[in-house]
Assembly symmetry: C2
Homo-oligomer: 189 residues x 2
């Protein structure tokens, strides 16, 4: 009698995880994804993205029922009315979220049970760049620091390894660290 | 008799805008900012950032009353339960939001009244990278496309110029295009 046990570790169904990896190994075309966002300006520094559709695993997704909305803004000192985190803060969130999910998945695959993952991110910016006051500084962060606090049923060395592997595989860490070609088109009408 | 009129254009108080630019020109140290996010893992692909404090204009901010929370997740095909946009989608939002706010501010400064700004973003990803199945593709997007639709009381050429200037000054466009040094520290306890 064979025994099939669905093992969920760190909230990740590891059978589904291994199954997904095997399916994409067998048919690499299933790994092709396209993610999307639609943004519209509301007023001043207030704008909103709606996020729902994506392409992946050979088809347009039909499983996501909910459309997500995410608002952006600026604090008063940067001429906004605090209608949401500002875009640079959203970038920090994207980075934190991706490193965290990647390390949670890596830990699940490596049989490490996590009990706590927290991170604090700081990004340094001289806003003279993005305000157009000087070309001597860049427009974005000069540097970002991420500090993780992580606990689980593994040695400190093993937990460190999990974080290192997450750095080595996180999509957003790659993009923020190395950059991505971005094409910008405009229709005026 | 001097006449002082507060001109709000595109939802931006242009007097405050010019005043801010002058103040930072006079004292460049006021341009030093630090933005922050704190993230904690909830379960599986679900994690949440809280965003509130920042440093800027020579002091810790005391004006932002509200703490923002932003949730991340993954769709079922990527082993989550759709608890929020995924991290790569959040990055697209950060990029859209920053380009939009920058172009709205640029237009306000250049006396262009905007009536509509929308953008659609697509990012192409072969998830074999971030899933650790191959080193032949990168972990993040191979390419991002941003398509703006913009309307206002200016010629198409002028509106195109505004978008070009926003590309040239957007903090997140700079970071996503060119990358940023990211330090990752870990405490295990």
């Amino acid at each position: 009698m064979s025994q099939v046990v669905a093992i969920t570790r760190n909230g990740v169904n590891t059978e589904q995880l291994y199954g997904t990896l095997d399916a994409i190994k067998d048919d690499p075309s299933l790994g092709i994804f396209q993610f999307r966002a639609h943004n519209h300006w509301i007023d001043g520094a207030h704008n909103r993205s709606t996020i729902k559709s994506f392409y992946g695993a050979g088809q347009e997704d039909s499983t996501r029922i909910q459309e997500f909305t995410v608002d952006a803004g600026e604090p008063a000192i940067l001429l906004g009315t605090d209608t949401g985190p500002n875009p640079a803060e959203h970038l920090l969130h994207a980075l934190a979220a991706c490193l965290t999910t990647t390390l949670v998945y890596v830990a699940a695959a490596r049989k490490v049970k996590l009990t706590e993952v927290e991170s604090t991110l700081e990004g340094d910016m001289d806003v003279r760049g993005c305000l157009g006051l000087t070309d001597e500084v860049r427009n974005g962060f000069s540097r970002v620091r991420v500090n993780f606090k992580i606990k689980g049923d593994a040695t400190p060395e093993k937990l460190q390894e999990v974080v290192e592997r997450a750095k080595g595989r996180s999509a957003v860490f790659d993009m923020v660290s190395n950059g991505v070609p971005v094409d910008v088109g405009v229709v005026t009408a």
